[in-house]
Amino acid sequence: MANVVRLKRGLNLRLEGTAVPNVEKTIVSDTVAIVPDNFHGIVPKVIVKPGDAVKVGSAVMYDKNHPEVQFVSPVSGEVVAVERGERRKVMKIVIKNDRKDEAVTFEKTSSAAEVKQLFLQAGMWGFIKQRPYDVIADPTVEPRDIFVTAFDNAPLAPVYAYEMLAGEDAKALAKGLEALAMLTQGKVYVGVEPESKVTVPAGVELVTFKGNFPACNAGVQAHNIAPVNKGETVWTINALDVVLMGRLLLNGRVDMMRTVAVSGSEVAKPAYVRALPGTPMADILKDNLVKADYARRVISGNVFTGVNVSIEGYLGVYHSHVTVIPEGNDTHEFLGWAMPGCKVLTTSRTFVSRWLPGSNRKPDARLHGGERAIIMSEEYDRVFPMDILPEYLVKAIIAFDIDRMEQLGIYEVAPEDFAACEFVDTSKLPLQEIVRKGLDALRKEMN
């Protein structure tokens, strides 16, 4: 019998611009970019220079702290630029796509050691994240368990991409899961939603989660299955990335093609496209934005945890989702705090729209208020489905009290777990940023 976990606390927002579930087209761009900032927790060392020829699966950089962790090109062609920013930080590696699709071939694997070696070499390691710290997994530490998340219930989520896990991607998923099971002495858990048709190979455990966002987060799932204690390490991976691992194992070559939801109120025809990570947003959104004379925000990912990359940016490595919303920086709402609020996006019953169905489904990026000290209590708790006291943990992080953070469960959380809290926060605190900085500082302190 499958395990079912019911989570009462969470947030369900319906926004305008859900992608229609069919794949419109495959986007092949002239250039793709590898953005080292996508991979959190590594120190990138670039090993290509402009003019170098690369194949699909050729390494372009590695992690200085763990040189075996390599990152590869998703296309074949020529490196045209390695752009650096302040203090020579690598901003992006731009590769010209020659459309020949020549790929590095990798040997078939059978043992755990070989699988691990393959993942490290062929750029798959970057998809494996670890708790604590929510960074790319340390290859020298064997995980206690592995948590694979196989659904997404953030606003406008790429549901169709996850449906394909039970369809055309099923074989690759199964292969990937089998390989992951070899990499841990513990268990591999796959978190799904009730309607999911995903099946898993023997030895992998399926857990059903009933509940709103952030039930789809690996941290929430891990906490409700087998929480991470101090000193333990677990891996968290998105099932859509496990598919990429499976394809590598099945075909012996890297194939990073993703099914990407193009969504949001500013998209003319919300639909799915196929695209590689690093595809320019301009190519993905070309001809598909509503006409407007105001500023827009192009997000790689969803409105809660995505990254504001702008139209000049690129599809993020982990993202099967693009959202475009109005920026709203030219909207000046007169006496907004005193108005009945018939057309606002809110979970607060102080606004009329909370009492009416079908309120605002077209939010912009405004904060709707100034930053304050934490005033209201229990606000975070109602969207935080873990036995952790979010407010106290956030305060401990701000104070950077390491003992207190440990006691309150810092090792179990990632910034994304605080996304819903950040949305509802009356005090408008940048919670994800606070948690991110706290985790990074803690990691530095502990290693």
Binding site: F304, G328, L345, R366, L367, H368, Y392, Q407, V424
Partner: protein, 403 residues
């Protein structure tokens, strides 16, 4: 609105650093964000935010205070005309106008002093003006007797805002409820103007209207004041002209007392607003009443010849004095209350219990709700501490079992 926006944009540079009026930057920002919701967009983290902000939150509390405030104004006029024996011949609106004129200066003084200090501190610290005092400034005039002099209110407000709030870091950082510190300061610094029989009913005129002399047999003692001085096993509470009062009178609130505290009915309307909008914690409100009712019931068993308040029924106890007001508007201040779910039950219950205990067993001290809330403000962090420790020990236990 567009013209106003353009005007603001035009004068804005003058208030920025280097501008002509740079020292008034916080004040300008305060007014600007008062008129228009700031258009700043998220820089990190989530890209969309809930529309709620602290201005909205505070506004809802003020709206919830209005029924009690308006009733309080009417009641000030009512008690006055009752005292001078002209109630039957005076129109409703005149009665209200009298009360309005009598209360208004207190509101003005409280806001002027409190917001003035807030503005100055905000500018000194270069941060935005915070909304906390909008509520405190309304609470202060509602919890003082009508005849407390304005200069006393000004001094007490200044003391409370500076020493109970700003030195701790401003709104959200204070340990004690600012309005209650104001009241406590008044109570201990000027007891003769905060309690007794001569401050709860205004007998003089207000801005020239409603002059007259009090009728024979007038007594300005509040019901709880009468309880405190009661002798014997019988207790009959009377209004200011000597007629006996019933529980319904305590509930409706046409009795002498602090301006906003007399009407349990009006306060409950406010409570409904706060609970429907989800601003106040029902856990606190319910447990304050539960604690109060239970303790009052236990107290009915003590010897009434020593403790006269034992003669009051539990319902009378929660309707009289500042109990309901404290339960709905004071105990629920999220900053000074317990912040954890479990903690709120304990915090609220102890406030209710403490308020009644002070009332019953300290006969020199007719009203205990204020001190009960202040006392529990001090204990709220301790209550939360144990709730948090329980969470921590669950985590430790889990880690031990895992090994």
């Amino acid at each position: 609105m567009k013209a106003l926006r353009r005007f603001l944009d035009k004068i804005k540079p003058n208030f920025e650093p280097g501008g002509k009026f740079a020292p008034l930057q916080s004040v300008f920002e305060g007014f600007e964000s008062f008129l228009f919701v700031p258009a700043t967009t998220s820089k990190s983290g989530v890209h969309i935010h809930d529309n709620i902000d602290s201005k909205r939150t505070m506004t809802v509390v003020i709206i919830a205070l209005l029924p009690a405030l308006l009733f309080g104004m009417y009641n000030v006029g009512y008690q006055h005309y009752l005292a001078i024996g002209e109630l039957a011949t005076t129109s409703f609106w005149t009665v209200f106008l009298y009360g309005f004129l009598a209360v208004l200066p207190k509101i003005v003084v409280s806001y002027l002093v409190g917001l003035g200090i807030e503005f100055i501190v905000a500018q000194m610290r270069h941060h935005e003006i915070q909304e906390g005092f909008l509520v405190s400034g309304m609470l202060i005039p509602m919890i003082v007797p009508i005849d407390t002099p304005l200069w006393m209110i000004a001094i007490a407000t200044a003391f409370a805002v500076i020493f109970a709030k700003e030195v701790f870091g401003g709104t959200g950082m204070n340990i004690f409820n600012v309005a209650l510190v104001t009241r406590a300061f008044l109570f201990f610094a000027y007891p003769s103007k905060m309690s007794g029989d001569n401050v709860f009913v205004r007998t003089g005129d207000a801005f020239g209207i409603g002059g007259g002399t009090v009728v024979d047999g007038f007594s300005g003692a509040t019901p709880l004041g009468q309880v405190a001085t009661n002798v014997g096993d019988e207790l009959v509470l009377r209004n200011i002209v000597g007629e006996p009062l019933t529980t319904l009178d305590y509930f409706i609130g046409l009795i002498p007392g602090s301006i906003g505290e007399t009407s349990t009915l009006a306060i409950l309307i406010g409570a409904v607003i706060l609970l429907l909008t989800g601003i106040a914690s029902w856990r606190i409100i319910v447990s304050v009443f539960a604690g109060g009712l239970l303790t009052a019931w236990v107290c009915t068993m003590v010897d009434p010849s020593i403790y006269a308040a034992a003669l009051l029924s539990p319902i009378d106890q929660v309707c009289l004095g500042g109990f309901a007001f404290a339960a709905v508007f004071m105990a629920t201040d999220p900053v000074t209350a317990a912040r954890t779910k479990t903690g709120k039950y304990i915090y609220g219950f102890l406030i209710g219990a403490m308020a009644i205990i002070i009332r019953v067993f300290n006969t020199g001290y007719p009203e205990g709700a204020m001190l009960a809330v202040l006392f529990m403000n001090a204990f709220a962090p301790l209550i939360d501490h144990y709730v948090v420790e329980a969470n921590i020990s669950r985590r430790l236990k889990r880690a031990k079992n895992a090994k």
